[in-house]
Amino acid sequence: MQDHPAEFPPDYASQDPAALPRIRFPDGRSEPDQPGWRHAFPIDWARDQVVSRRDFTRLMVLTGLAFTVAQFGVGLASLRAGRARPEPKALARVEEIPVGETVRLHYPGPRDPILLTHLSTGAFVAYGQLCTHLQCPVVPRAELGRLECPCHNGWFDMAEGRPMAGPPRRPLTRIQLEIRDGVIHATGVEERTA
C-alpha cells in the first residue's frame, strides 16, 4: 500500500514530477490529476488485484481439498461395497408370475425394492426399482415392453434394463436370478455402467 501523502492535499506543484511515485490509476491519468477523493482513499490498484487473486486462489485450493476428501470417501465406500456379498434369496415360485406380469419384491435388503418380470419370451428378469437418474421408483409398462420413470420421463427397456430415453444414462441395477426346482432365486446384484 502506498503511504499517505504527509500533507493533505499533497502539494504536487512543488515536487519534482520524476520523483513522484508511479502508480497506475484506473482512469489512466497521473496522480496529480486524480480527483481529491482518491487522495483521501488511496488504493494501490495493482496490489489490490494481487490480494484478490490470492484469496481466489486460496478458495480454489480449498475447494480442491474438498474434492480430494470426497474422492477418498468414494474410495472407502468402494472398499465397503467390494466386501458386501448379498446372500441368495428365494423370490417366488415360477407359476406365481404369469407371462407379462411384474411383481415388486425386495432384494438384497428389505429396503431395496426390485421388479421381477416374466417376459413374453418366457425368461425372468429382475431390476432394482430405483431409477439411475435420481432414484425415483420406475414402473413397468408391460404393453410397451418398457419401464418408465415418471419423475423426468425416463425410459428403460424391459429385456435388458438399458436406458432408452430421458435423463438416465446408466442401466438399471440387474438382479442375478437362478431357477431351481421351480423357485426363482436372487443370487446377486449387478451394477452396470453401460
Binding site: 494481487v50 490470492r54 485450493v61 475447494t63 480442491g64 474434492f67 474410495g75 446408466r170
Partner: protein, 77 residues
C-alpha cells in the same frame, strides 16, 4: 523477499500470478471431472477405479498447494 525486490516488475508479477491462477483453476476442473467420473463408475459398480482416482486427486491437490505457495512467495503479505 518483498514484492519490490524479487526482481519482477509489477507487470511481470501480474502475468505470473495470472498464470498460476489459470493453472490452479485448470487443476481444480480436473479434480472435479475426476470426482464425477469416479462417482459415475462407482455407482455403475466399477470399484477398481476409486483408489487410483483418489491418489490422482491427491497429486493434483499437492500440485495446487505448491502453486499456492509460489503465489505466496511472489506476494508474501
Amino acid at each position: 523477499m518483498s514484492p519490490a525486490d524479487d526482481g519482477h516488475t509489477p507487470d511481470q508479477r501480474g502475468i505470473l500470478l495470472d498464470g498460476i491462477l489459470f493453472l490452479v483453476g485448470l487443476i481444480l476442473m480436473l479434480q472435479l471431472w475426476l470426482l464425477t467420473a469416479t462417482m459415475e463408475a462407482f455407482l455403475g459398480g466399477d470399484l477398481e477405479i476409486a483408489w487410483p482416482a483418489a491418489l490422482a486427486s491427491l497429486a493434483c491437490q499437492a500440485l495446487n498447494l505448491g502453486l499456492w505457495r509460489i503465489l505466496g512467495a511472489l506476494d508474501p503479505r
